[in-house]
Symmetry: C2
Subunit: 199 residues, 2 copies
C-alpha cells in the first residue's frame, strides 16, 4: 500500500514542522502558513492534513503530550519523597528537551484560556498530573518526610512550586541554571520536612 | 484645545476596548480588527493610535501593569511574614479583577516567549517582583518565621508557588476557590516556619 505509506510519511513531515514552528514561535506563531514555510510546501498541503488552525493546535498539544511522556522517568524501586522528587524534577527544564517542552506548554496557556475545549483539556491534564503525584505525597507523609494535612493541598502546592519555577526559568535561564533549579527543589522539599523526622 | 481632548478621549476608548478584547480572548485574540469590532469602529481608527500588532501588545502590557499596581495593598504598619503574606495574596486571583489580570498575564507569556523585546520586559518584571519580596523575606527570616538560608532562593520559591497556584486556579476555578487559595498560601507559609519559633 504505497499510497498509505506516503500519506503517513508526509503526515510525519508536517507534524515535525509543526513542532519546529511551535518551539521557535509558540502558539501565537503557529499558523498553516508558518508550517508550510517551515516545510517549503504550500499551505494547501498543510490544510490537507490539518484543515484549520484549531486542528493544528490540537495536534500540537498531542505532540507536546507525547514528548512529555518520553521525559517521565521510570521510578521502579524508588519510593516516597525520592520518587516525588524525581517526578517533580522531570517537569523542570533541566535539559534542552525539557526547556523546549516547557516553552511549548507555557505558550499553550494563551490559546487554552481563550478556547473552552482547550481549556477543558488543560484542566483535565492538570488533574491527571496531580493524581499521579498524590500517592507519592501520601507515601512521603506516611514515612514522615512530608508534614501531615490534606495531601491534595500538598500536591497542589508542589505542582504550583514546580510550574512557577518553570516559568521563571524560561524567562531567566541564566538566573535559574539547571543546577540551581535542582537545588531549589531539594531545598524546598527539605524545608517542608517536619522536624523530628529522620533525614 | 478641544482637538487634543478629543484625541485623548478617543485613545482612552481604544485603550478600554483593548483591555476588553484581552480579558475575553487573550493575546492570541488581540488584533487590530478585534479591537475595532469591539468599538464598532474601523481598523483605520485603531491603527491611528496603535500602528502595529506589536504596538497593541506593548500597550496591553502597560495596561496590565497599571491594573496590577492598583491591586497592590498598602502594607504600612504590617511587617515580616504578615507583609509577605499580603504581598503574595495580592497576586492570587481572589477577586474578579484579580482573575482578569492574572488571565491577561498568563496569556501574555506566549507572546513574551516568542519576542526578544517582550521577553526582556517580562524577565525585568519578574526581577522587580522578586526584589520587592526580598526585604519581606529577610525580615521574616530575621524574626524566625521563615527558615535561614539564601533569601533569594526563598523568594524565588514563594514567587513560584504563587504563580503556579494562579495557573491552576485559572484552569480550575471550582477546585481552587478564593477560600482555598488563601488557605493554601497560609498553610504553605506555616509549613515553612522553622520549628521552635513562636507562632
Amino acid at each position: 500500500m504505497p499510497a498509505k505509506t506516503d500519506h503517513e510519511a508526509r503526515r510525519r513531515d508536517v507534524s515535525a514542522a509543526v513542532w519546529r514552528v511551535l518551539a521557535a514561535a509558540g502558539f501565537g506563531g503557529l499558523t498553516l502558513r508558518a508550517v508550510a514555510a517551515e516545510m517549503g510546501a504550500t499551505t494547501g498541503l498543510v490544510t490537507h492534513y490539518f484543515p484549520s488552525k484549531k486542528a493544528l493546535i490540537v495536534h500540537a498539544l498531542e505532540l507536546a503530550e507525547s514528548h512529555t511522556r518520553e521525559l517521565v522517568p521510570a521510578t521502579d524501586g524508588v519510593h516516597g519523597l525520592e520518587a516525588l522528587r524525581q517526578a517533580l524534577a522531570a517537569v523542570l527544564p533541566l535539559s534542552p528537551e525539557g526547556t523546549e517542552i516547557n516553552r511549548v506548554w507555557v505558550s499553550s496557556w494563551d490559546a487554552a484560556l481563550a478556547d473552552p475545549e482547550l481549556h477543558a483539556l488543560e484542566k483535565a491534564r492538570y488533574k491527571r498530573w496531580r493524581s499521579r503525584l498524590h500517592p507519592l505525597v501520601v507515601e512521603a507523609q506516611t514515612d514522615g518526610s512530608l508534614p501531615p494535612g490534606d495531601p491534595a493541598d500538598l500536591v497542589a502546592g508542589l505542582a504550583a512550586f514546580t510550574h512557577g519555577l518553570v516559568v521563571q526559568a524560561l524567562f531567566d535561564p541564566r538566573a535559574f541554571s539547571h543546577k540551581r533549579l535542582a537545588a531549589l527543589l531539594d531545598t524546598h522539599l527539605d524545608a517542608l520536612r517536619p522536624t523530628g523526622s529522620v533525614q
